[in-house]
């Protein structure tokens, strides 16, 4: 069973379109994340939710809107896609919240969603 699964794995779309990436984790974790990895492989956190509550919201254009219907799901909707949005988007989860008391909180990543905007 896949621990963190995200769909679609590959997405090619035109500028200006709106798209969503879905994510589900079956680990029973309370915290979920969206990360963006650019062409230089830098992994940058975008959002983090703990029990459906937004706890980290980095400087991300408001065209990006996360939604967590329950603690096992965290979806990412992107409006008016731009060329610069092309990247790999990783969903992830962890047992504890960032900065929580649990030292060395392991982050479990999905396989990534390759988004190409043309």
């Amino acid at each position: 069973d896949t621990a963190v699964s995200q769909t679609p794995k590959y997405l090619v779309t035109q500028m200006g379109n709106d798209k969503s990436i879905k994510c589900e984790q079956n680990l029973g974790h309370d915290t979920m994340y969206w990360y963006k990895q650019d062409s230089k492989k830098f992994l940058k956190i975008m959002f983090s939710y703990n029990n459906k509550e937004l706890i980290i919201n980095e400087t991300v254009p408001n065209r990006f809107s996360p939604k967590s219907p329950d603690k096992a799901h965290l979806n990412l909707h992107i409006n008016s896609l731009e060329l610069g949005d092309s990247a790999v988007y990783f969903c992830a989860s962890s047992q504890d919240r960032p900065g929580g008391r649990m030292t060395g909180n392991t982050i479990y990543f999905g396989e990534g969603s390759w988004l190409t905007v043309v």
Binding site: K40, G99, T103
Partner: protein, 111 residues
Amino acid sequence: TQLLEQSPQFLSIQEGENLTVYCNSSSVFSSLQWYRQEPGEGPVLLVTVVTGGEVKKLKRLTFQFGDARKDSSLHITAAQPGDTGLYLCAGGGGNNRKLIWGLGTSLAVNP
């Protein structure tokens, strides 16, 4: 601003060679994690170190946390093609509650 610098950024070696990857910061972290990311996959945790001076071994991989908990190293003995991937370090316990990620070291082990 907390930063983690990794070096080298790229490394291409022959099978059987040894190598060391470094992760440095001017900030103190309560924990330091190493992840490996293979092509087409998400990062996977290799190890977590939490005590200054701590050394952990995972088969041919040796991880060390600096005494001051500001830096870490990863040493691979007799590298194999299966070790190829992006090695990322991440520091925990930051004052903004986020995990701080390094830029990664891209390792290629040639047969």
